[in-house]
Amino acid sequence: MLARTRHCLRLSKVPNYRHAHTARTVGEDARWPGWRVVVGIEVHAQIKSREKLFSNTWTSDLAQVSNMHVSPYDAAFPGTLPQLNPRCVELGVRTAIALNANVHHRSAFDRKHYFYADLPSGYQITQHYAPFATGGLLELPNAGKAVRIHQIQLEQDTGKSTFDARRRLSSIDLNRAGTGLMEIVSEPDMESPEEAGEYVRALQALLRSVGSSNGNMEQGSLRCDVNVSVNKPGEPLGTRCEIKNINSVKFMMTAIASEVFRHIELLDQGQPVAQETRGFDEQKAETYALRSKEDAPDYRYMPDPNIPPLFIDGTYITNIRNHMPELPSATKARLMAMGLTARDADVLMTVDIGREVGYDGALGQGAVSYFDQLAHGRDTKVAVNWIIHELLGQLALRHETFKDNTMSVIQMGELVDLVQSKKITGTSGKTILRHILTHRSSEMPSTIAAKLQLLVSPDTDGTALEAWCTEAIEAMPRESEAVRKGNVNVLNKLLGHVMRTSRGRADAQTAKATLQRLLS
């Protein structure tokens, strides 16, 4: 988990590299001079709804025991019929609004037929002929462009089959069968693996910010099919190949690069690129043929005769629009307007991506919302420093992420206030923070400070400080003598003694001055 935080933090540095790269792509890419790369991406994002798309069975995560969340409908028992879950529509519309897509008044559901054991009805219900949203844009700040969205459709996820090669048996798990998916299809607007990577990451952040999906590629709640082609500038587009089922952004970028090289190699040899569907071998970092265009299945699309058309009226859309969660671009602008540096805002937002996305659009408590609450009525810079440097730092040392944080905003708020009003020192504040995390304590910092004797005593006349200093001088005669003789560096040893005996309650600057006075 720590690794993930680090990985994410490292990402925030990428822009510099990207800018350099973007500058080059206008002309050409040093990796493939004289070639232009065209990439389009189909993303399947699982809708984070409590219930499935067409049944009231609960959705599952990977931790769920197999085949626990399966109703007769999900297993395609005869006589069962679909019931559209309005929550899925709502989250779909939220996503469409966030992508500036055009939500259609009327859309419809179709059946896509193919035989596979994890598809018990023999068809997937999707929106082939009339998707609920078309058009739209996703901004890629680093690439300095916007990728156009072609369409967004609602559809069912399949079950999962795992093949036991030793026993030569397939196991079917229907927990996932019928979970709602959003298929988000981009236009072929990306021109490098890096742009494709930024597109998927931006989409992930957007889906999470509106609460419509976890967007987690490793766990399979977001999956990408990538279309890649190459051509010479000024010439028509090349033949595209589709790479299916890639399960991380990193692999996707590697797969695109590998596919680009493969196409160029073929074309350089005067051979055509065959239109086909390809898989990606993570070990070899190369793609391999799955099926050719001729073998492409005929899905026999048919309007679903059970499900009436979906009508989405303007009032419904306006209502969702008025209650839209903040989008990443708006969050960043707001944080910076509050006085945060771009770097601090990025860190908060990167950590925020790791937050739990609630069911049915409930927005989870993430780092940004923690900051918003903490900064309320407080100095924003102080608040962000306590979160980034102290809280996140301590969590990282513990190999924990922000999700594991047990310290409430109220506890943190009181802690910051105690330090700011000098009732405790900054050092004591850090001690208390560690104490709360270590003991998973729900006690208020003031209570803990009293227990640990960390409250700065009302030492108005400085007698206590004077006593700690005298005690230090007496305990360390050799060092004291050295200071008297002008070795100022040794003063820090005495100061350390004062801080220890005072349990951090002494103010370092005043203590230093007092020691100097007593030793002069």
Partner: protein, 508 residues
């Protein structure tokens, strides 16, 4: 009400005499069923008791349920080897409503496999034998002439006709309730599409499938309809409560304007000219003419009408129904439930088709396979526009024919009251079938080719109402020249189910 008027004038038209009120014992039921083969599973003797609450609307009413409607207590096989011994985990909404209303479900009724067929010969349980016996026959009933009960709800119609049950629930996709009702001499009612819940009804063609009712008389059908016509949120194609209310108010108002209390003087009866195909056996027209004369005698105006899209209805129906069937029957793969035939050793199991093909080849009968193939073809990318989309356009035209011919607007297409179209008619009347029940071939399941083609032609008369989703009832109209029953069909605008039943009761 009209009923009272008609009861007075009715006896002369009641050619089928039957004791409607007595219940038969279980032993009698079992032995009778043996020569009819209407029921394929029976509710156990221990639970063969009746609801005690006499105030319930269907107290004391026995019901047979077609075997493609889910019951958790009895197998639901769709007469297919694919679902042999299959117990559904759920009860269909209509089954629940029947039980809640005090009805007693006696068992499951034979049918054509997955509802596909017009003769009830395509059944893993064997064909249903029509319970009717020629009035002049001297042979014992058990050795009566073997004729088809019609399909696909043949078991349902035969159960009612043989007095095994007061009421039977069937399904009607293209005539599957009305046709067997006509052959067996019972009332068969296909309500407006979307009024009766399809939750728990095993899909053949979702956009056409309707739960239908078969009764010993119109009153049984009406009482059952009143119980079952409820909005069910589990059926996505169910008519919404506000649509039902609008339709039912429009129907009520229309019926009161017609003033059916004493006379049919304001009633306009349309006779669609396209409903007399060349295949129609002229010898069955006498009962139909008698019905027309009877309505005329009560003051109704008889008006010839044209429904020009009718000739296309049959092909549109078979494309749409087969396409939907090929989709709906894709789920029977031997993985989750139902028949599973293990592939022979050495089969390459990485290909899905190798795993599924054996179960599907053995599990489905020939008629089902034929329609799956036809439907699969109609949905392929190359054929989709010319077949499936073309069929949908024709379906639109057929719908338009009905909207054009009726004087009341279609409640599904108009949210506000239109002025009634005074040129239009209130109901359509036509023969339910092109002939009386055909003899069952001595050799089991009918051979293909010509035989099956003629069974498709029969559907000419029933599929238009299915495509349009409008209510249609087949009412016994007496015996044709060959001594076998024949029905007439009353059809009206969507949501005017009560009008259909009112007129059906007048004819009865």
């Amino acid at each position: 009400m009209l009923v009272s008027t008609c009861r007075r004038t009715k006896p002369q038209f009641r050619l089928l005499r039957r004791n409607h009120s007595t219940l038969i014992s279980r032993d009698e039921l079992v032995s009778k069923n043996r020569t009819v083969n209407a029921l394929v599973s029976l509710t156990s003797e221990s639970s063969f008791s009746h609801h005690q609450d006499v105030s319930l609307p269907l107290h004391g009413v026995t019901v047979a349920v077609k075997d493609n409607i889910c019951t958790s207590g009895l197998p639901t096989t769709c007469s297919s080897e694919m679902l042999e011994g299959f117990y559904s985990p759920l009860d269909a909404t209509v089954v629940e409503l029947l039980q809640r209303a005090g009805a007693h479900i006696i068992g499951k009724a034979n049918c054509d496999e997955f509802g596909m067929g017009s003769l009830n010969v395509h059944s893993s349980h064997g064909p249903v034998i029509n319970p009717h016996q020629h009035p002049t026959s001297s042979a014992p009933w058990e050795s009566r002439e073997r004729r088809s009960a019609g399909g696909s709800s043949g078991g349902s119609a035969a159960a009612v006709s043989a007095s095994l049950a007061h009421v039977a629930i069937g399904t009607d996709t293209g005539g599957s309730v009305r046709l067997p009702a006509s052959y067996c001499g019972t009332v068969g009612f296909k309500p407006s599409y979307g009024l009766l819940s399809r939750w728990g009804v095993i899909s053949y063609a979702d956009s056409l499938d309707c739960v239908g009712l078969l009764g010993r008389n119109v009153d049984y059908a009406l009482r059952t309809f009143d119980v079952l016509s409820q909005y069910d949120s589990k059926d996505p194609s169910a008519a919404r409560p506000e649509t039902r209310r609008r339709a039912s108010e429009a129907c009520k108002e229309h019926v009161s304007q017609l003033g059916l209390d004493n006379t049919l003087q304001k009633l306009k009866v349309g006779i669609p000219q396209e409903y007399f195909p060349s295949e129609l056996d002229k010898s069955i027209l006498n009962p139909f003419r008698r019905t027309v004369d009877f309505l005329k005698s009560l003051g109704a105006s008889i008006i010839p009408v044209n429904m020009p899209s009718t000739p296309y209805a049959l092909s549109a129906y078979y494309v749409i129904a087969s396409a939907e069937a090929s989709s709906n029957l894709a789920r029977y793969d031997g993985i989750q439930y139902g028949l599973r035939v293990e592939p022979p050793p050495g089969t390459d199991l990485t290909k899905t088709s190798n795993v599924y093909a054996h179960s599907r080849s053995q599990g489905f009968g020939s008629e089902v396979k034929k329609r799956i193939l036809l439907g699969t073809y109609a949905l392929t990318a190359d054929a989709f526009d010319n077949y499936f989309l073309q069929a949908q356009r024709l379906r639109q035209l057929v719908r338009q024919d009905f909207d054009n011919v009726f004087r009341m607007p279609n409640p599904l297409r108009s949210t506000h009251q239109h002025q009634p179209d005074e040129q239009g008619v209130d109901i359509l009347l036509h023969s339910s079938a092109i002939r009386t029940a055909p003899p069952l071939a001595s050799a089991s399941p009918s051979s293909d080719s010509e035989d099956s083609l003629s069974s498709y032609v029969q559907d000419v008369l029933t599929v238009p109402a299915s495509l349009a989703g409008v209510p249609a009832a087949s009412v016994p109209a007496g015996l044709a020249d060959d001594g076998w029953p024949v029905g007439v069909s009353v059809v009206s605008q969507w949501g005017f189910d009560k009008l259909v039943l009112d007129i059906a009761r007048a004819i009865e």
